[in-house]
Each structure stands twice: as structure tokens, then as C-alpha cells.
């Protein structure tokens, strides 16, 4: 049986900052554009972005896109593609001003220009001194961006498919992408959304970790769909972590707690940072603290039933000081850790925050994959932007405030590429007869499964495995065991069972389908991490503590089929300026 077919010029999957920016560009160009989103657009995870959007406007003093580029290349630990980074930083001022014209309520200076805030890692004159580069709308920049772009999309007549979940990509025998199969949650019906071009803007997949700052929706749906369709995933070993999130919840505890005199304890009640950093102790840099925590947990000195967290003690500061100097921390601990830090320590663990890797694209937002001798042949009709994509502007580590910049720069650019492609490729290509077969078989398997496992149990095992084996600091024995373990989890994912078989609003089915995507991301991350024998940016290994530019200045490509890895060169040549040669990274 063939599902009903709806036709569009372009489909955007995901309604965060990148998806909405892309859709706006398409609709304003007069294209019939559909946006598919699991949740109401303004509830996308972009809403969590508070730090602002980085752009060298120079409103607070001298600034230059080339300085922004330097900071981004250095931040990426030289794994970022310098052509894409030049494009990002050169285009950033223009897209910010565009957002301002759309009505995004940026904070302003007395002279009416957009106010810019200082942010870590941003410098003037190639690392000489800090610069104020982050444009904000109070602490709600992400929310303001979503709201502004959504309103404008409504005016531009973008068609929204809200509470629809895209399930699989449709490719014809030549490999061209012709749309997606999608599930309408309200009815449980599956449809073919047939398009001339498809943009993925599905966000990150931080929910592969037991401790993650990501909202529950961040299940890497776009990455799962791409992997199942034979498209590689790039640099999935690179995940940005924060040292202290509430164990089991993921809500961050500010590093200010340690600044005020809070310290970390292992299960023996030992203040272990004294061993790792005798002088700085708990005030050592972020990566030193995160490594120490991971080492304590690995060596069996973690707390709790699974020995998978440490404790942050601050009761000795006293109630008055905690209330006065650390506002909000007591509430967070009570709400999310069920402890009152005035009396008891807070369980904390390094917490995943941002995914640097993703679906490989060039700086035009076109998805690229190896074909013949070309490691980066565009996949016709397929585009990606935002956290789900790897352009690669973040390389091995993302610079703060560049995530929002990434969304709007590449959301718009991917759409411009689509507009150009559609001018050259009129009309819809024929759908293959079996377009929906694989998806329908997957749904039928899930509905028919007997004696299967609970989705929640398998998902929990997936998250624990990633957290324990592929966390902030990585050990060779744990990575090797992790690869085997995650493959076994994948076998269990293929046997999940749901009790609720109803069609209408079946969230159990949706969560099972999300797990199909999470496992692709988790496997890609674990396999890629186990193979990369160096430490670079966010990929930090105990056995290879140094960056190795001779052997590893290259991008990983993971293919689902047989867990195969390939590598491709980093673009070290920018578009118009001299390259930034790899150097030791110091701040």
C-alpha cells in the first residue's frame, strides 16, 4: 500500500532557528514550502540559547570578521574547515542586521546600535585582548529569534506540519533525495512528502547521554534518517561537555559554585581535586576538573548505585552565603537533585551540551558524501543546516555564541542553494515505487513485536553506555568495550515492543522511533571516538593526550553499513585570506 502523497517545492525538517530561517528564504522566493516539526516551532531547543549571536559588528569598539574567524579556527582546534569558517564570520554581520530588520528585539546602545556583550574565547587582533561581539536580546536571544522568524514565516505563507515526525529520507536509485516519509501524530497516518529539495534542520542529539543539557526532543532524528539512507555522519566523536550538571537530570550547576568555595568529593568523602591539581584544586580549568571527575568514576570511586557521579559540597558555605552569592542554585538542587545544598552535597557529573559533528555539508549547506574519487560530492536535492549539520565550522570544539550564528548563516545559505538548484531542475522527479516500503516495514515490525523489550529500558542502557564509555574524558579500554556494548544495544533497539498500539497520538510509538535515531548517533559517536587516536578539542583521550596533526588532521566519516569509517581532509584553505596554520592552543 502506498501512503498518500503531498507535493512541495521544498521541505524543511525541523523548526528551530536554522529550519525557520531556511523556510523563510524559500517561502519569500515564492516556493511552496513545508516545515515538518515534532513540536510547535517556538518550542524548539533554539529557545535554550541564551549567550547571544556572535558577529563582528564592531559596535563596541574595533572588530573585524577576520578576528572572529581566527577565534573560531583556534576554538575548533584547527579541525574546522577554513573556507566554511570564513564564510560564517564574513556573513555573520549581514544576517544579524537582517534579523534586526525582521524585528528581533536586540539590546541596544545609547546611539541606537545593537549592544554587544563580551563572551569567552572572542578576541580582538588575533588573541590580543577580549572583544565584545555577542548580540543579545536580554537572556532570551534564542527565544526572540524563533519568535521573530516564526511570525515572518506565517506572513510568508510557509506551511507548517506541526506534531509531525519525519521518519525516513526518500532517495531514488541515482541517490537524489526526493522528500521524506512522515508520521502525523494526531492521526497516526503515514504520508509521503514529495519535494524537489529537502533541508534537514533537525538539531542535535544530546539525548544519547545519560546526563545532557538538551531538551527531550533532541534525539538526532535527521542524523538517524541520513545514516539509514546511506549518508555518512562526520566527526561524531566531538561532543562539548560541561563539567557539572545535576546527575540524572542534566541541569547545569554554574562553575561559580566552585568559585565561591564549593568542592568535589568522591564516594570515600575525599576531596579528590587536591590530587589532580594540588594548587588550583577545585578551581582548576574546566577540562582538568572534568577529567578528574571522569577518572574518579572510572576507577570506582563514583557515588550512588551505579557509581556514576561525584558530589559537589557547599553546605560549609552556610545558608546565607549560598542564598546571597549563588542565587538559584539552592532551588535547582532542590528541584532537580532532591537535595538541599545547605545540608547535603549535590550529585554532579560531566554533562553533554553540544554536538560538533553531523551530516556533512559544504559551506553552501549542500550535503556532501564520497563518490568515486571525490570525497565531497553533493547529494542532489539534499541540504542540512544547524546543529544536525557539519559544515564544518565548529571542528573539534565550538566557540560560544557561534551556534546561533551557524543557524542563521547556514539556514539562509542552504535555502539559497535550494533556490538555485530548483531553477536548474524544474518539476518533481518520479518517486521510486518502493519509496515508503522500508519505513512501513519498520513500523510493522514495531507494531507486531512480541516478547520485546521496553523502549525506556533500552534507551536508558544506551544513555548509560554512552555516558560511561564515551564521555568527557575517554579511556582506551572503556572505548573498546563501549563499541561492543553499543552494538549489543543496537540489537536490542531492533526488538523493542510497545504495548499501546493505537494510532491516535501514540507517544510510545514516537519514542520508539526516536530510539531508532538515537542508536545511529550513539553508534557513530562511539565508533568514531574509539578510532581517533589523539586528543583534539572536545575529544580527550587518556592514552593519546596530545593533538596529532601529522596523522589526525582529518575529518571522520562514519557509515552505518558495517560501522565503516573513512576520513577526508580538512579544508585548510580559506576563501580569500591566508590560512591559519595549526598552532598549540593556549588562552
Amino acid at each position: 500500500m502506498t501512503p498518500p502523497i503531498r507535493r512541495f517545492d521544498a521541505i524543511v525538517v525541523g523548526a528551530g532557528g536554522a529550519g525557520l530561517r531556511a523556510a523563510l528564504q524559500l517561502s519569500e522566493a515564492g516556493l511552496k514550502t513545508a516545515v515538518v516539526s515534532k513540536v510547535f516551532p517556538t518550542r524548539s531547543h533554539t529557545v535554550a540559547a541564551q549567550g547571544g549571536i556572535g558577529a563582528a559588528l564592531g559596535n563596541m569598539g574595533e572588530d573585524h570578521w577576520l578576528w572572529h574567524m581566527y577565534d573560531t579556527v583556534k576554538g575548533s582546534d584547527y579541525l574546522g574547515d577554513q573556507d566554511a569558517i570564513e564564510f560564517l564570520c564574513r556573513t555573520a554581520p549581514e544576517v544579524v542586521i537582517e534579523l534586526e530588520h525582521y524585528g528581533l528585539p536586540f539590546d541596544r546602545n545609547d546611539n541606537g546600535t545593537v549592544y554587544q556583550r563580551p563572551f569567552g574565547g572572542h578576541s580582538a587582533n588575533f588573541g590580543e585582548k577580549p572583544v565584545q561581539r555577542s548580540c543579545c536580546a536580554a537572556d532570551r536571544t534564542g527565544h526572540a529569534m524563533l519568535h521573530t522568524l516564526y511570525q515572518r514565516n506565517v506572513w510568508a505563507k510557509t506551511q507548517f506540519f506541526t506534531e509531525w515526525m519525519a521518519l525516513d529520507l526518500i532517495r531514488d536509485p541515482s541517490g537524489q533525495v526526493l522528500g521524506v516519509i512522515a508520521l502525523e501524530m494526531e492521526t497516526g497516518e503515514v504520508s509521503i512528502l514529495h519535494s524537489r529539495a529537502t533541508i534537514f534542520a533537525t538539531g542535535g542529539a544530546g539525548r544519547i547521554y545519560a546526563s545532557s543539557t538538551n531538551a527531550f526532543i533532541n534525539t538526532g532524528d535527521g542524523l538517524g534518517m541520513a545514516a539509514r539512507a546511506g549518508i555518512p555522519l562526520e566527526d561524531m566523536e566531538f561532543w562539548q561537555f560541561h563539567p557539572t550538571g545535576v546527575a540524572g537530570a542534566g541541569v547545569l550547576i554554574t562553575e561559580g559554585v566552585r568559585g565561591e568555595g564549593g568542592f568535589l568529593l568522591n564516594k570515600n568523602g575525599e576531596r579528590f581535586m587536591e590530587r589532580y591539581a594540588p594548587n588550583m584544586k577545585d578551581l582548576a580549568s574546566r577540562d582538568v576538573v572534568a577529567r578528574a571527575m571522569a577518572t574518579e568514576i572510572k576507577e570506582g570511586r563514583g557515588c550512588g548505585e551505579h557509581g556514576d557521579y561525584v558530589l559537589l559540597k557547599l553546605d560549609h558555605l552556610g545558608e546565607e552565603r549560598i542564598e546571597k552569592r549563588l542565587p538559584g542554585i539552592r532551588e535547582i538542587a532542590k528541584k532537580f537533585a532532591n537535595v538541599d545544598p545547605v545540608r547535603d552535597p549535590i550529585p554532579v557529573v560531566p554533562t553533554a551540551h553540544y554536538q560538533m559533528g553531523g551530516i556533512p555539508t559544504n559551506y553552501h549547506g549542500e550535503v556532501v558524501a564520497p563518490k568515486g574519487s571525490n570525497p565531497e560530492a553533493p547529494v542532489p536535492g539534499f541540504y542540512a543546516a544547524g546543529e544536525c549539520a557539519c559544515a564544518s565550522v565548529h571542528g573539534a570544539n565550538r566557540l560560544g555564541t557561534n551556534s546561533l550564528t551557524d543557524l542563521v548563516v547556514f539556514g539562509r545559505e542552504a535555502a539559497n542553494s535550494v533556490i538555485e538548484f530548483l531553477q536548474e531542475n524544474p518539476g518533481h522527479k518520479d518517486l521510486p515505487g518502493d519509496a515508503a516500503d522500508r519505513t512501513l516495514a519498520r513500523l510493522a515490525r514495531l507494531d507486531g513485536q512480541k516478547n520485546g523489550e521496553r523502549v525506556a529500558d533500552v534507551a536508558a542502557e544506551l544513555r548509560r553506555t554512552m555516558q560511561a564509555h564515551c564521555g568527557v574524558f575517554r579511556f582506551p579500554d572503556l572505548l573498546a568495550a563501549g563499541v561492543q556494548k553499543i552494538k549489543r544495544v543496537a540489537e536490542r533497539v531492533a526488538r523493542t515492543e510497545i504495548k499501546d498500539k493505537s494510532k491516535v497520538f501514540n507517544t510510545a510509538r514516537v519514542e520508539a522511533l526516536e530510539l531508532d535515531n538515537l542508536i545511529e548517533v550513539a553508534t557513530a559517536s562511539m565508533v568514531s571516538a574509539a578510532a581517533r587516536q589523539e586528543s583534539r578539542g572536545a575529544h580527550d583521550r587518556s592514552d593519546f593526550p596530545k593533538r596529532d596533526d601529522v596523522n589526525w588532521l582529518k575529518h571522520t566519516l562514519y557509515f552505518k553499513e558495517q560501522y565503516r569509517l573513512e576520513y577526508k581532509p580538512v579544508h585548510l584553505k580559506p576563501l580569500s585570506v591566508e590560512p591559519f596554520e595549526p598552532k598549540a592552543r593556549t588562552y
Partner: protein, 79 residues
């Protein structure tokens, strides 16, 4: 059966852009939803229509909803 699907729909709309809200609303659903009156359930649907930052401010006590029914619900969410 209708109730059952309504609960599912509400459960999905508790999926937010902010992790804090995901966690608080999930806990609220598990602990309190079954015991709500029809009127409270209707109010909860209204609450879920609010933008995430506003809802989070209510949950953090930064501000209070004017609607007393929403106020009461927020009280249960953060207890």
C-alpha cells in the same frame, strides 16, 4: 479511551525547548495529572500554550501568572 488519548496529547505537549521544563512537567504528569479536575486539566492545556521562557519564569518564581488557576497549577508543578 478519549481521556487516554487526551492524556497522550498533553504528554507530548509537555515536550518543550528547555530541559528544565521537560523535567518539571514530566514529574507533574506522573504525580498529579491523574488527580486533576476537568477544569484544572483545561487550565493545564492553557499553561502549556505559554512560551517556554515565560513558563520557566513562573516555575522559578521570577514572576507569577495573573490567572489564579494557572498560579495554582504552577504551585503544584514546583512543589
Amino acid at each position: 479511551m478519549i481521556d487516554d488519548r487526551e492524556r497522550e496529547r498533553v504528554r507530548w505537549r509537555c515536550r518543550r525547548g528547555l530541559l528544565e521544563l521537560d523535567l518539571l512537567l514530566k514529574q507533574f504528569l506522573e504525580r498529579h495529572y491523574a488527580g486533576l479536575t476537568d477544569r484544572e486539566r483545561a487550565a493545564f492545556v492553557r499553561l502549556l500554550d505559554l512560551p517556554d521562557p515565560e513558563l520557566l519564569d513562573y516555575c522559578n518564581g521570577v514572576s507569577r501568572p495573573e490567572d489564579s488557576e494557572l498560579q495554582a497549577l504552577v504551585g503544584k508543578i514546583i512543589q
